[in-house]
Every structure is written in structure tokens, then in C-alpha cells.
């Protein structure tokens, strides 16, 4: 009998939004099915229904011929459905084996946990997938990538017949992605139903067999991966052709004097890094996750202590002991983790954009709310942020609009920002908005900002930056100009010796 998962007429609405409209499709065992669509298209909602986090208003989910009815994630797990989210759900202090067998720890005849058997069973699973992971290591000590592998093994151990991934590669670097893909191929060989949500088209072509495209809560079309093309998918997703994103960028071509010079910077996970940035220039930092790129900019920005080295800002030697000092001097950071580090989520757009200029929008001791509202209103207009008003809480905005709020904060008239640091600015943002962010960066360069752009996605870091610094293991291993950069050349600079380092991580 052929094993399959079928969605039949699923509808779901939230107050004011029809999140899913009559969704019906089928996922076959032994095949990988991609859910593709812009943010807000309904993929996550569907995944949540599959996981038992939400229940559908109408319609049913059928697995292997029997309708599933979940009232909790626990029911879903019992029925054989595992969803692997972007946020890791491991218990960091517990060992890998305890995590994998959580809820089903083998016991000996005294009723205690049977450690030797636990270790043996875990080892068997780890070997099956060919991973260099120590079963006794605390899960929290593994790299992000390996934590994800542990989650997959947990799902495998439960005997799940459906394993769904929600943007699994969002925080992985290229080398780690290939390990993940090997695991997915293994699951496929075993006849599992794999559901794969991602924004990255290249990946979807690499590992999926079928593609379901969503737009605005509706199913647009189902494709067989081998019979479609990237432009066709993009058209289906956004309803238009975005063409060659990078070739169409309107770039800045005139650079001014040197804004920033960093010499021999040493900090935690940063070894002797030097680089320079001119007015109007975009410099990119490429490398694998954990290469030390974020650590470089955090030390530069005063967020983490600098151990040694020199920072010259417009020729003058500076050292920032706190982000506040760096901001006063003209630096601005849009952190990698927008929600945890970039924004104060439960505050309004207005409150979020005014943070660095609260001292300037005062009348005597009191905050000048009119000035504050004018500031926020100006930013919403300038960046065409989609919101009913400036009092909207930022947690309710889409990823792209949240990013615009942060960019708006740093580039308002009240600020004296000279250098903008963008750490993974397009992470979790849909294809259409990504292009908008790239153009925004080019526009900022034209206005004379110096831009530092960190990205783990090679095409964008090559396509947008004027100069690309490649990092590995805390060092800069190369500096390439856009014209000379290819994905292969950057990747080889970023990856040599990585296998060794990664094995070290896993211990």
C-alpha cells in the first residue's frame, strides 16, 4: 500500500485574516515535498496544524488512510508526526542520548534508567546517519547544526512517519546544510514522508521531489521539482518575474574617504582581524556560521569586550566600551536576531525607533511625544512600512517590515549614523522583500553610509557587496572584490579545514 499524508479542504482563519483557504494536496511516502511561499502565505500555519499546535476550522488531515485528530502536539507525536522548528527544542543540560530518548528512556529491572542500553541504542542511530556526535555530550554544547541533527534523530527514534522541517537551513552554513541534506535523503530512502519549508530556491531544487506553492493562504499550484524552473516558481509565489535581482540593483560607484579602519582586532572568537571601509562602500563578511563574523562586529560596536587591536574612525583612534558610545560616534548595528536583539517586541514602532534619540526628543525633562510621533511617522513613510499606524506593536509586523523599523531607527534625521552594520538582514525574509532590502542597502551606500554586510548566503553576499572579506575560525582568510568573486572561490576560503573544526565542535 502506498503511504501518504493528505490535506483535505483545510481552512483556518484568525481575527481579520483568512490564513488558509481550502487547502488540499497530498504528500507521498519516500518523497520530499516543499512548501513554498512568501512570508504570510500560510506555510507556517499549515505546519502548526500538522503539528497539533493549531486546529483547522474546517477540513481534515489524513495519514495512511486514517484521519488525524490532534488536540495537542503530544497527540501529533503519538500519531507519528514530528515537526522540526527553527527554534531548537532540546533540553540543553541533558545529554544527546537523553534528548533523543526523552519520553521513552529504557529502564532496567530496578526501574532506573538503563544507561548502557540507552548509550548503545543512541550510538546505533548516530551511526546510521554517520554523524560524529558523542551520545553523552550535553545537547547545549553542540553547534546549532548538530543540535538540529539531534532533533532529527529524536524524530527518527520516535518512529515518526511524517517529518516536517520549518526553514531548517536558516541558521546553518553551507557545509552544515550538506550534512542535513544527507540526513533527509536517508529519511526519504526509509520511505518517510518529508515536508520541507524553505525560502531558498536552490535548496528546494536540490532535495525536493514535489513543490506546493502558497500565496495569501491559498494553494497556487503543485509542481514536480524536475519539471519546473526557478523563474516559474518565483512567478507563482509572487505573481511577477523579479528577473536577475543582483544585476538590476542600482549601485553606488563613487567611494569617499576611509571611514573605518580596524587593525589586528582580537576578541572572543576573533583572531587578528583587519579591514577597512570607505564612505559609500558595502563590505561583505562571508563565512560559515561560527566563523567569528558576528563576534567581530559585536566587539567593534562595544557590545562585547575587545581584547586588543586598533579601531580608527575617520582617522581617529577610538574604543567603545558600550553600544551607547559606538552609537554616539556614528555606528549602528542591525543584529542577526531581529526579534531578540534588534527590537523590543512588545513595544510600538514609535517606541522602537526613538530609543537611540530619546535624549534629543525632550522638552525639559519630559519626552516630547509629538516629536517622537513625527519621527516615527517619517520613518514609516520613508520605508513604506506596512502598518495601520505608528502605535502598532512590532511583534505583529512581518519580518521585512521589522527590518525596516530597525533600518529606519538608524537612518532617521535625528541620527548621525555613518556606518551601518547589517548582520544577516535577510534572514527569514521572503524573496520579494529581500530584493527590496538589497536595493535599500545600495541606496544607503549612495547616501554616503559605509555598510558592513554579514551574510551566510553566498549569492547575496557576492551579489551585493563591493568587497568581500571571508572568515574562517575567527580569522580573515581572504578579501575579494565583487568582480573577482565566485561562489566556489569564496567557499574554498571559508571552508578549508572545516571538517576538522566541526568534529571539534561536536565533542
Amino acid at each position: 500500500m502506498e503511504y501518504f499524508l493528505e490535506f483535505k479542504g483545510i481552512r483556518k482563519s484568525f481575527p481579520g485574516v483568512q490564513a488558509l483557504r481550502d487547502i488540499s494536496f497530498r504528500a507521498e511516502g519516500g518523497r520530499v515535498l516543499a512548501l513554498l511561499g512568501e512570508n504570510g502565505a500560510g506555510k507556517s500555519t499549515l505546519l502548526k496544524i500538522l503539528a497539533g499546535d493549531l486546529s483547522a476550522d474546517e477540513g481534515e488531515v489524513v495519514l495512511g488512510g486514517a484521519p488525524l485528530s490532534f488536540s495537542s502536539p503530544y497527540d501529533a507525536i503519538k500519531a507519528g508526526v514530528s515537526v522540526i522548528y527553527q527554534e531548537r527544542q532540546l533540553i540543553p543540560a541533558m545529554s544527546v542520548m537523553e534528548n533523543i530518548f526523552a519520553g521513552a528512556l529504557p529502564r532496567n529491572s530496578f526501574g532506573f534508567i538503563d544507561k548502557p542500553r540507552l548509550k548503545k541504542d543512541t550510538q546505533a542511530i548516530i551511526e546510521k546517519f554517520g554523524l560524529p556526535i558523542d551520545p553523552a555530550a550535553p545537547a547545549g554544547r553542540l553547534s546549532v547544526a548538530y543540535q538540529q541533527m539531534v532533533e532529527i534523530m529524536k524524530a527518527y527514534r520516535r518512529g515518526s512517519s511524517v517529518i516536517a522541517f520549518d526553514e531548517p537551513t536558516a541558521s546553518l552554513a553551507e557545509a552544515e546544510i550538506s550534512i542535513l541534506f544527507k540526513l533527509i535523503a536517508e529519511l526519504k530512502r526509509e520511505g518517510k514522508i518529508v515536508v520541507y519549508v524553505s525560502h531558498r530556491l536552490a535548496e528546494i531544487f536540490q532535495i525536493t521531489d514535489d513543490i506546493v506553492v502558497f500565496k495569501d493562504g491559498a494553494l497556487v499550484k503543485t509542481f514536480v521539482t524536475d519539471e519546473t524552473s526557478e523563474p516559474e516558481l518565483i512567478r507563482a509565489m509572487i505573481g511577477r518575474d523579479i528577473g536577475d535581482t543582483y544585476a538590476n540593483l542600482s549601485r553606488n560607484t563613487e567611494y569617499g574617504e576611509t571611514l573605518l579602519e580596524v587593525r589586528n582586532l582580537v576578541a572572543k572568537q576573533v583572531k587578528n582581524v583587519s579591514f577597512s571601509l570607505r564612505k559609500g562602500e558595502i563590505i561583505g563578511f562571508a563565512g560559515l556560521v561560527g566563523a567569528g563574523r558576528t563576534e567581530v562586529v559585536r566587539a567593534l560596536f562595544g557590545a562585547d569586550p575587545m581584547i586588543s587591536g586598533e579601531i580608527l574612525l575617520e582617522g581617529k583612534r577610538v574604543e567603545f566600551k558600550s553600544p551607547a558610545e559606538a552609537i554616539t560616534a556614528g555606528l549602528a548595528l542591525c543584529p542577526e536576531d531581529r526579534k531578540e536583539q534588534g527590537l523590543v517586541l512588545y513595544h510600538s514602532i514609535r517606541d522602537n525607533v526613538s530609543i537611540p534619540v530619546l535624549s534629543k526628543i525632550r522638552r525639559f525633562f519630559f519626552l516630547d511625544r509629538k516629536a517622537e510621533s513625527a519621527l516615527a511617522g517619517g520613518i514609516v513613510d520613508k520605508y513604506s512600512i506596512k502598518t495601520p499606524g505608528i502605535d502598532k506593536i512590532v511583534v505583529e509586523l512581518s519580518g521585512g517590515n521589522q527590518q525596516k523599523v530597525i533600518l529606519g531607527r538608524w537612518t532617521s534625521d535625528q541620527m548621525t549614523t555613518k556606518i551601518l552594520i547589517l548582520d544577516e538582514p535577510t534572514k527569514g525574509i521572503d524573496v520579494g522583500t529581500k530584493a527590496e532590502v538589497y536595493q535599500m542597502m545600495c541606496d544607503l551606500a549612495k547616501q554616503g553610509f559605509g555598510v558592513i554586510f554579514i551574510s551566510s548566503e553566498l549569492p547575496e553576499v557576492i551579489g551585493v557587496s563591493d568587497t568581500i572579506y571571508v572568515m574562517r575560525g575567527g580569522r580573515v582568510t581572504g578579501c575579494v572584490h565583487r568582480g573577482d568573486a565566485t561562489e566556489e572561490s569564496i567557499l574554498s576560503l571559508a571552508m578549508s579545514d572545516t571538517v576538522k573544526t566541526e568534529r571539534g565542535d561536536a565533542k
Binding site: 553600544p323 523590543v344 530609543i355 537611540p356 506593536i393
Partner: protein, 296 residues
């Protein structure tokens, strides 16, 4: 409240009883300001009662030694600020959890209280202290209450309308993001702890002034009343929400609840149980609203 009034056959709303309620509001209000503003920023302080009692004892000791009232008052307030600063150092520099750090401070301050007083009560005979402690405007509203309400008003305005106040809320919601956007969470944390320590000292002194003596119990553990009032008034333990207006309402609810039980003759031991249940109700409400927020 209506229940109290009915059961007590009107005794609950008699002027003299209302005066009692207002009188008991003094200490709680000052502690609620300190504890509440710390909670908004995501911290907590279990040593406020201990600090306040120690400072009141120092003031009484200095007065007995012949130090002028203003110098004694200033010394006590400075000691309160120092206690708060000590907490801030433990939390910010040594990275202790506020819960643990301030619990230790509470114990230390209680020890110092007994050392200063040799375990005995010290009478306060200073006319200025006695005046502030006992006199009332129009023979009804205690001066000490006016001081607390004024403090509540000022802090309410500061929290809602100044850069400092805004920073407190932003830090309570997400200290990391606030720091990367240019605020200085450490500085705010120091200010709040020191401020709470000073207010606790003032609360301890006002109580001692009313009792015309300082004893080793003083306002020990009253920070829990302050925290309960804050939670009842909508200041979440998780930080980032609530304000002084709500806190005032919380204080009044708490005091009416406690006073009412005395008026209708609930046995004292059962009153303690009931207070605990009130705190549970407040925490449940706090938990439910936090969950609602998280579901967003």
C-alpha cells in the same frame, strides 16, 4: 469592600477606619514604588524590608546619640542607597540572580539591625520625627501619607514621561535589544536599586517615627506586601508592564482587604492565610495575561 461594609455593619467605612487604612498605606506605598519600578525593569529586591529596618535603626541610634534630626535622616537615607548599590553590584558585576543576591542582602541587613541596636528597641524622642510620624492634616490625613502619595505621583510621572522611565520599560521587555539600541541597562539597574533602597529607608523611618521607637522587626519582609500590591496593580513579575497608577490601586486593594479582615474579626492566623491566597490570585492573573501576550 461592600461585603466588608455589610458584615461589619458599617464599621469598615467609618472615618476612623478609613484613617487607619490610609495610615497603613504609607509604608506599603514607598516599598511598592521601589519594588514595582524594579519589577518593571525585570529585577526584584527581597531585601527592601531589611534595608528599611536597618536604616530606621541607624536613625534612632544617631538621634539617641544626640545627632541632629536632619543629619540622622540623611545618614539613614544614604545607608539605604548604599544597600541598594550593594544589591546592584551583586546583580550587575558579579552576575548573581537578583533573587539570590537580595535574599543574602536581606539577611545581612537584619544582622546589622541587631548589631546597631544590640537587639533592643530604641525610642525616638525627636520632635521633628514625632511630628512627621503622628501629625495629620485637618486631623485626618497623616503627613507621612502625603509624603508617600507625593512620591507615588512623582515616580508615576517619571516612569511614563521621561527618558529614564521609558528606558525602564524597554529594559524590562528586552534588555539586550535596548542595550544594542543605545540604552545603558547597567546604569538604569544601579539607579533603580539605589532608589528602592532610599525609599525603603524612608519607609522604615516613617514607621519608626509613628511608633516613636525603632525595633528589630520594623518593616522586615514588607517588600512582599509591596510586591503583592504591584502585582495586583498590573506590574508583571516578568517585567515591562504596569505603572504607578495601577500600583496605587493595588495598594488600596491590599490594604482594604487586610484591614477589612480585622474589622470583621477574621482570626489573625487566618488573615495570613488569606493574604497568601490574595497573592496567588494576583499571580494567576499575571500568569494569564503573560500567556495571552505570548500567544500573540
Amino acid at each position: 469592600m461592600i461585603v466588608y461594609t455589610v458584615i461589619s455593619k458599617g464599621a469598615f467605612i467609618r472615618p476612623r477606619n478609613i484613617r487607619n487604612i490610609l495610615q497603613s498605606t504609607t509604608v506599603v506605598s514607598l516599598l511598592t514604588i521601589g519594588a514595582g519600578s524594579l519589577m518593571i525593569a525585570g529585577y526584584l529586591d527581597l531585601s527592601l524590608g531589611g534595608i528599611g529596618t536597618m536604616c530606621a535603626m541607624l536613625a534612632a541610634f544617631l538621634l539617641r546619640a544626640g545627632v541632629p534630626w536632619y543629619a540622622a535622616l540623611a545618614a539613614a537615607l544614604i545607608l539605604g542607597g548604599a544597600g541598594g548599590a550593594f544589591n546592584a553590584v551583586l546583580v550587575n558585576e558579579l552576575n548573581f540572580q537578583p533573587f539570590i543576591a537580595t535574599l543574602a542582602t536581606a539577611s545581612i541587613t537584619q544582622g546589622f539591625t541587631s548589631i546597631i541596636s544590640q537587639g533592643k528597641q530604641i525610642d525616638i524622642a525627636n520632635p521633628v520625627f514625632n511630628f512627621i510620624g503622628s501629625e495629620r492634616v485637618l486631623d485626618f490625613i497623616p503627613y507621612s501619607l502625603i509624603i508617600s502619595l507625593f512620591a507615588l505621583l512623582i515616580y508615576g510621572v517619571i516612569l511614563k514621561n521621561t527618558k529614564f522611565g521609558r528606558s525602564v520599560y524597554l529594559i524590562g521587555n528586552n534588555a539586550q535589544a535596548a542595550r544594542l539600541a543605545g540604552l545603558r541597562p547597567k546604569r538604569i539597574s544601579y539607579t533603580l536599586f539605589i532608589n528602592a533602597g532610599c525609599l525603603a529607608a524612608l519607609a522604615g523611618i516613617l514607621l519608626a517615627a509613628r511608633l516613636k521607637s525603632s525595633n528589630t522587626v520594623g518593616i522586615t519582609n514588607s517588600q512582599f506586601a509591596g510586591m503583592t500590591a504591584a502585582i495586583l496593580g498590573g506590574i508583571s513579575l516578568g517585567g515591562g508592564t504596569g505603572g504607578m497608577g495601577g500600583a496605587l490601586a493595588g495598594i488600596l486593594i491590599l490594604n482594604c482587604f487586610n484591614n477589612g479582615m480585622t474589622v470583621i474579626d477574621v482570626p489573625p492566623y487566618w488573615q495570613v492565610v488569606a493574604s497568601g491566597i490574595l497573592l496567588l490570585i494576583a499571580l494567576t492573573a499575571d500568569f494569564l495575561s503573560a500567556r495571552k501576550r505570548a500567544a500573540n
